[in-house]
């Protein structure tokens, strides 16, 4: 398990990583232990770089908040990659410098109707954060958020990293069904539920946009590395946008 200090000028000065096998068909490049916007951006940039490198045998490159997973398969004649060969290759690529700040994402506006029936937990979140509901909305909409990963369900995006004031825990008992489009926060992160799913995050609003549609290309509205601006809308606008998509 190589531990590295990267001195390339293209990389953030203190970038360190550790490569570990996850079984015989996946490896995990770990960049840290705690949620941190800089580490998250490094993961996104590394994931983009590894995806662009089109390494033989690699099927999926999956970023998360502090790590990047690389899934691979042996070739048709049983030839590599092996963990040894692939980790060495990746090691060399990363040591060449991770393009700092290049998550490669787009800028996406996500309209959100905050509070009311769309955001049943907004008042509670405001109480827990000891600020007004309007202040919660302001902290959520400014500055823009970044999509650090998708997981849990198809098109289910995790965004952050929000102001320290929004560092509130998940609800003590999860809801059995959260409606599609629900925008929910916990631990300085936001998730947007693409489908009706169980969930324990605090729902502060909802977007009328369709977050996941397998018939669309790409199927997930948000991609890792996208920068998102949450734009407050009224319940009427919510209904109008949702209606226009049907």
């Amino acid at each position: 398990m190589p531990l590295n200090v990267n001195s390339d000028p293209l990389s953030p000065a203190e970038t360190r990583w550790r490569i570990l096998p996850q079984g015989d068909r996946c490896l995990i490049i770990s960049f840290g232990e705690h949620i941190d916007a800089a580490i998250g951006r490094t993961c996104l940039a590394a994931a983009r770089m590894l995806r662009d490198a089109q390494l033989p045998g690699v099927t999926d490159v999956v970023p998360s908040f502090v790590a990047v997973a690389v899934h691979y398969r042996p070739g048709g004649q049983g030839e590599g990659p092996t963990y040894a060969s692939l980790s060495e290759h990746i090691q060399a690529l990363l040591a060449g410098g991770i393009p700092a700040g290049d998550a490669g994402g787009r800028e996406v506006d996500i309209p959100v109707c905050y509070g009311g029936e769309h955001g049943p937990d907004l008042a509670e979140v405001a109480r827990a954060a000891r600020i007004s509901p309007d202040a919660v909305i302001q902290l959520h909409t400014e500055p823009p958020s970044m999509v650090f990963m998708l997981g849990f369900a198809p098109g289910h995006a995790y965004l952050g990293v929000h102001d320290e004031k929004l560092n509130i825990p998940r609800r003590p008992s999860p809801r059995t069904a959260v409606p599609p489009g629900a925008v929910a926060i916990a631990n300085r992160q936001t998730v947007i539920y693409p489908n009706r799913l169980p969930g324990g995050w605090n729902i502060i609003g909802a977007t009328p946009l369709v977050m996941f549609d397998p018939a669309r290309e790409p199927a997930a509205l948000l991609q890792p590395g996208d920068t998102v601006r949450f734009v407050p809308i009224s319940p009427d606008e919510f209904d109008r946008i949702r209606g226009s998509q049907a």
């Binding site: 079984g23 949620i35 099927t59 997973a69 049983g78 030839e79 998708l150 849990f152 397998p214």
Partner: protein, 330 residues
Amino acid sequence: MSMTVIKPGMLSSFQDRGREGYQHQGIPAAGAMDERAHRLANALAGNEGDPATLEITLTGPTLRFDAPACFALAGADLGATLNGQDIPLLRPLIARTGDVLAFGARPAAGVRAYLAVHGGFALTPVMGSETTYLRSGFGGFEGRALAKGDVVPLRRPLAPERDAADLQKALSNVRVYLPAALGNKQREFVRFLPGVHWPEFSQSSRRAFSESDFRISPQSDRMGYRLLGRPLAMNQPRQMLSEAACFGTVQVPSGGEAIILMADRQTTGGYPKIAQIATVDLPALAQSAPGQTLRFQRIELEEAQRLDGERERAFAQLHGALEPLRALLA
């Protein structure tokens, strides 16, 4: 030009090797639980590529061929019959128009059988794959398991003028030698590699995982197998951040009951990972039923990758040897 579902069976869904390249969008790979058997069925049905096969679970469906077709079965022996006559696994077989394929004539040995037809089923790929992801309802046949009355089109049925008896005779004369690496010998142990959090588990938990028996819970499905046995714990439990999970990842939620993630696993998980099942042993696991007892044995990474590569070479070898079979069907 199709196959009609008379009875759907317990859970019959189309699966291929999985939807690769979309996990960063949170889209599970899914795919065949026993990929080995899925590929064998395709090879023996004379398929060049690797189209989706029908994954059949325990209680099989009853299916009527509405066109002549070459098909093959692999994986579990679920007591298959064609027009009431017992039929073997791992052989190319001919069905005539109106023939009925049914299951359950004998007690099941294994859990999942795979039905391949020559040319494949005419399914619409979603994100490059014909695999059904049941939980979100897309891919395969209308994104769901088969239901009574479904009519599933075949991509390339046999030409109606071909003499079925002659063709079956010719196919039966093709020698099929199955390389040992493609067999499904039930082993005493399921081999594993240490998971990324293995060193953080207590010594007694690591010993329990390596040495004691675990039973597959009835709450087990395509998404995961829950294991009943000695509870497992970390030395110092801590909150984990979600990161990628794989087919065969063994994770341990705070209750201490291990879960092996299977084909329909989510792309990411936030529980500590004690182990990872060696890919070469996933097919045997996929054929193990709830209630069955498992024992795990540690294997080195190089050995696991050598066995995985050996299986790929065996498939290449089999594929080469089946050229005469494909020529007969061309």
